[in-house]
Amino acid sequence: MNALDRALLVAARELAAERRHPDGLVAALTFTGLLVLIESLAFGPGQARQPGVASALFWIAILFAATLVATRSFDRELEDEAIDAVLVLEGGREAIYAGKLVAIAAVLAIVALAAGVLSLVLLDLEIALTGHLLLIGMLGILALSPVIVLTTLIALRVRARVALVPILSFPILIPQLVACTQGAAAALTGDASAALGWAGILAAFALVYGVLGLTIVPAAIE
């Protein structure tokens, strides 16, 4: 079994567990929906409908949802010590990282789609460039997920982990968050070249942190 097979096996196992007991997905969907609603109310419908503000509210909600999904995913591993069995296997550490990355990105894609539809309906937003918006959404999730998975791994079995993951990951994710927000706002307003520029930056972040994670994870887990 090669490295890719091992990673896909971990991802499939994770998604199967999520399908049987979708508590992580349900929690993230409820939390994201609630956050979009509360944020929009706090800003007021007038301001929240502005493309820049709506994009920022959406991505902040996704960021919190990502930490929730990742923390829940690793909680499941720790509950029955399943993670130890994977880690002792050859290439198990990289497989855990890559597999979790794929699974968490897939779950986040569902959450983002639901939260996106909710934002569009609640705020009555018009999309100028649908394809560009979907591209930003996809690359945004791919750019956020590696850092979230990596910091959750670092904080594994640490006290106050639920608070620690956002504290560690959010400062690192600020450039990605800016790119997601600006890219989505550009897609909403019809600025194709700006949207593609931000999409390029997000792709670079996804690649850099994806590779960095794979390189550093064997040393990160003891």
């Binding site: 670092i154 904080a155 640490v158 504290i167 560690l168 400062p171 040393a219 003891e222």
Partner: protein, 233 residues
Amino acid sequence: MIETTTAPFPTIRVRPWLGVLATLSSVIATFMALVWAPTDAVQGDVYRILYVHVPLAWLAYLAFFVVFIASLGWLLTKRPWFDALAVASAEVGVLFTGMFIVAGSIWAKPTWGVWWTWDPRLVTTAVMFMMYVGYLLLRSLSTDFSRRATRAAVLGVIAVIDIPIVHLSVLWMNSLHQLPTVMRAGGSPSIDAAMGTTLLVSVVAFTLVYLAFLAERMSIELDRQRRMFEARA
């Protein structure tokens, strides 16, 4: 496998001298900054905070670069000495970055009219500060020595990617912050010679203060590690 003995640390021998040198150079730098350096034609005497602000900026970068090197050192060799260096540099770095932000804020009020502005460089520096506060928090919440050192080292490596973003953000974005005047690509520094000399002396003085603090903190950490390994044995 980690080393369970801490080798004699060279800075312990130079530690007293570092303190003396740091004090002497700080006195000289203070005299040059407040008396010898000329008054700026545009900003008047307010600009003299430059002699604190710029060295603090340099130390913020240096301290976190040292954390990065020490983190790599720990990950590659598992020598506790590297972990002691990383934690010492991170703590001193957080202190100097905090002072850097405060000094910048004090300078911003008379020159820009505000204590704080959402300038990319300011924001990124504040983010860098928060990142290393998180680094220290991670360390404080982990109990096992080896796991704590490894986790912190991984974060130290990841976080360093933020430092070039801090420096380059002023160039990438349409920033309110002044462009680099000393270390700029192509051409000599645009600062007056006397001011440049004073700045250089200030940077040296602050660097010696950093090294003195680093040596003291490392000594405490190595002592703690020694006691921990002795208790285990």
